[in-house]
């Protein structure tokens, strides 16, 4: 078998499984799950084989088939291999494999079991498509396909109105981002005449000003896509709602992979972005990180806390890209994929343990009852908060270091403050859920999850622990050579690298962690209800209400659109249909009725009209 066939198999195997499940094995739940898991695991294994075969060479390789070719509009369906995409493939198939396995346990007994796996497979296919896309339009196509999968999975329990609404909201919000995205693609295509990343890069390398005046706007328009998919401010509102989906979905799509696609895409098209665009991107990222972290402090739903945490971390990544550091961004993306997936899966385990209870104030003291969950959750929390030597420490440090390197003190400050907040809200969560007293019956009768769910937790825990110092960063540096690259050679060097490269950032990060931890400990170690609600007062309410963004959008944007729709509808009904057509109809009818009045039935009238007709006829011809 040729090596070129492998990626196609990797890509299409999940799709095939989705199709087979949908068409043939809807009834047989076990078989469906088996097919789906088999497909994604095989994809993962093949990816590993492929990666080991081709290595991490930055040399670009492409496989392409022509998809559409009309004049200047030429779109390939191509696969693009470089360290960026290969690493992302590994992450996607790997995390997806684990979550697929986890889902067997989590979704056990659900009536949409087969459907769930079909959608999950479809998602895996779409996500791989984004990763492998070699041109803008293909990227856009898969971009939309992950949107579909997300919609289907968020609305998986469609009988719940909140889930159905959340799915719709997620999709529509994403669509607004995609609107900018497609405009960006159009602009770039119209200016540079190509959609292929390689070709575009070549053009821009040979002539950096090829985009001319539209450079900034094109970059920002493309960034819009990332804003939507990665839920950056101002389109961040959909992600917390998307937690209505089953927890594995939150873990896979709304934590590990899909939401990271925006960051991935920005790295992929980094060559297009000029300085002003990057600046905007970095500030949007920073602001999102801050905003989300603040909101997370006062959330009580375990998944929502994690969702805001995700937002916040995505903000970090986007900020990193904006600061011109794709490597830190991708590094953080990788580690975040592991520990955030782990956190979600852990929370899923907790939720399952407490019989679908999601309010953290109704849990408590779960440490003993769900030990595996607790320990893995703890590892993930530490990773997220940036505790040495957990993976999050390294990746977060690289971002903070980048900010410092760029002398962007505002963003550095934001980053550190967010790090404090992160530690605070995560430990708040840990203390309330796992320590303290049991706060409800469900928590009283909690039990540990089945093994099929615990093994993915364990594997992810290991990954969260080690991902920071096994050289992940190195993969990305191959693609984006750093300015002062010092290739770390060995394991121990990796382990202590941050302290050597950017000691200030590393220690500042650790200090921030400590501040956050102690604050949380002080406030929540024994609390039965949230003390901050009273202490912060209105601020707390604002935080709990997500700073009223939903309401704001509801009142402005959605209201505006609905008003326009109402006006259009009114116009259509009363002006076009009513006035114009009604006038024509009524006018014609009335004319008919009026003309008919001449037919009085009276001979004299008839004779008179006849004579009048003759007179008119004569006058017409002879009257002049």
């Amino acid at each position: 078998m040729k090596l070129e066939v492998l990626p196609w198999i990797i890509l299409f195997l999940p799709l095939l499984s989705a199709a087979v499940i949908t068409l043939f094995t809807q009834r047989d739940k076990k078989l469906s799950a088996g097919i789906s898991v088999f497909a994604v695991v095989v994809s993962f294994i093949l990816t590993v084989i492929f990666v080991s075969a081709v290595g991490w060479e930055p040399a670009k390789r492409e496989l392409a088939l022509n998809w559409l070719d009309i004049g200047a509009f030429h779109v390939d369906f191509g696969l693009h291999f470089d360290p960026l995409s290969l690493a992302m493939m590994l992450i996607v198939t790997g995390v997806a494999s684990l979550i697929h396995i986890y889902s067997i346990g989590y979704m056990n007994g659900d009536r949409g079991f087969s459907r769930f796996f079909a959608c999950l497979s479809l998602f895996t296919f779409s996500m791989l498509g984004i990763v492998l896309a070699n041109n803008f339009l293909q990227l856009f196509i898969f971009w939309e396909l992950v949107g579909i999968s997300s919609y289907l999975l968020v609305g998986f329990w469609y009988e719940k109105p909140s889930a159905a609404d959340a799915a719709k909201k997620a999709f529509l919000t994403n669509r607004m981002g995609d609107f900018g995205f497609i405009l960006g693609i159009l602009t770039i295509w119209a200016t540079l005449g190509s959609l292929n990343f390689g070709a575009l890069q070549e053009k821009l390398v040979s002539d950096p000003h090829a985009l001319g005046t539209v450079a900034t706007i094109a970059g920002l328009l493309v960034f819009c896509g990332a804003v939507g998919k990665s839920a950056q401010f101002p389109l961040h509102v959909w992600l917390p709602d998307a937690m209505e989906g089953p927890t594995p979905v939150s873990a896979l799509i709304h934590a590990a992979t899909m939401v990271a696609a925006g960051v991935y895409m920005l790295c992929r098209i980094l060559f297009l972005l000029n300085a002003p665009a990057l600046e905007v991107i970095s500030y949007i990222g920073g602001f999102t990180a801050l905003l989300a972290a603040l909101i997370a402090i006062q959330q009580n739903d375990i998944k929502r806390i994690l969702a805001y945490s995700t937002l916040s971390q995505l903000g970090y990544m986007v900020m990193a890209v904006g600061l011109g550091g794709p490597t830190p961004a991708m590094f953080h993306l990788t580690t975040h994929a592991f520990f955030k997936a782990l956190l979600f899966l852990g929370s899923g385990s907790v939720i399952l343990a407490t019989h679908h209870e999601q309010d953290i104030w109704k849990m408590g003291a779960l440490r003993k009852k769900t030990p595996v969950t607790f320990w893995t959750f703890m590892i993930a929390t530490l990773a997220l908060c940036g505790m040495w030597p957990f993976s999050g420490f390294y990746s977060k440090d690289s971002i903070l270091g980048l900010a410092m390197e760029r002398h962007n003190h505002i963003l550095l400050g934001v980053g550190l403050f967010v790090a404090i907040l992160t530690a605070f809200y995560m430990f708040r969560l840990v203390f309330v859920v796992f320590y303290g007293s049991t706060k409800s019956d469900h928590a009283e009768h909690a039990h540990e999850s089945p093994a099929v769910m615990l093994w993915p937790l364990r594997i992810l825990a290991i990954l969260s622990l080690i991902a920071g110092f096994i050289g992940v960063e190195g993969i990305f540096t191959r693609q984006f050579p750093a300015e002062n690259a010092e290739a770390a050679a060995g394991f121990s060097q990796y382990l202590f690298a941050p302290f050597i490269h950017a000691p200030w950032a590393a220690s500042a990060g650790l200090v921030a962690l400590a501040i956050g931890f102690f604050a949380a400990f002080a406030l929540y170690a024994k609390a039965d209800k949230d003390p901050l609600v009273e202490k912060l007062g209105p601020l707390s309410r604002a935080m709990r209400n997500r700073f009223y963004f939903d309401e704001l959008y509801e009142a402005t944007f959605i209201r505006l659109h609905d008003t326009l729709a109402a006006i259009a509808n009114w116009f259509d009904r009363w002006i076009i249909e009513g006035a114009c057509i009604g006038f024509l109809r009524g006018g014609t009818d009335l004319t008919g009725r009026a003309l008919r009045l001449f037919q009085t039935g009276n001979l004299q009238t008839y004779a008179f009209l006849f004579a009048l007709g003759v007179a008119a006829l004569l006058f017409w011809i002879l009257g002049k």
Partner: protein, 165 residues
């Protein structure tokens, strides 16, 4: 020629006045009588135009047959004086205006048109001449008219049958 002119004016005035009387008299019998007079004066004009045969026919057929038919019907139906219903003024005025318009246009056209008007008038509407023409040149319409008369005959019989079987 003065005599002819005088006769013309007399007959013309007579016919027009009688025509107006048809229009204005309330009793159908009176109208019919005035129509007879008009027809008779027209016959006079025909004679003046040397259409002697037609003048005779006019009297015989029209005044003699047609008008008698009319009177007969009037008597048969025992038509009284037209009831004095309110005359629709608007109708009358509109009628007058439209007819007036036709007449005005006719006069105007007449005033600007060149008429053939031969100075030497040779036509004599004698029976022989007419007969010749009728049975040679105009044989076809003549025959068609015969069919027409047949139709009229059948029709009248049909329409006047008292019982509807």
């Amino acid at each position: 020629m003065a005599l002819n002119d005088t006769i013309f004016y007399i007959f013309a005035a007579l016919s027009v006045i009688c025509g107006v009387m048809i229009l204005v008299s309330r009793n159908p019998v009176t109208s019919a009588m005035f129509l007879v007079l008009t027809i008779a004066s027209l016959a006079g004009l025909f004679a003046l135009l040397h259409a002697f045969f037609l003048a005779a026919i006019q009297i015989l057929v029209y005044a003699g047959a047609v008008m008698v038919l009319f009177l007969f019907v009037i008597m048969l139906l025992d038509l009284k004086v037209e009831e004095r219903r309110k005359i629709k003024k608007f109708g009358a005025i509109a009628g007058l205006v439209s007819v007036g318009a036709i007449f005005a246009i006719f006069l105007k056209s007449l005033s600007v048109s060149h008429l053939a008007g031969n100075s030497v008038l040779t036509t004599e509407g004698s029976t022989i001449e007419l007969g010749k023409l009728l049975f040679s040149q105009y044989l076809l319409p003549f025959e068609i008219v015969s069919v027409l008369l047949l139709v009229a005959m059948i029709s009248v019989i049909l329409l006047s049958k008292k019982d509807l079987k």
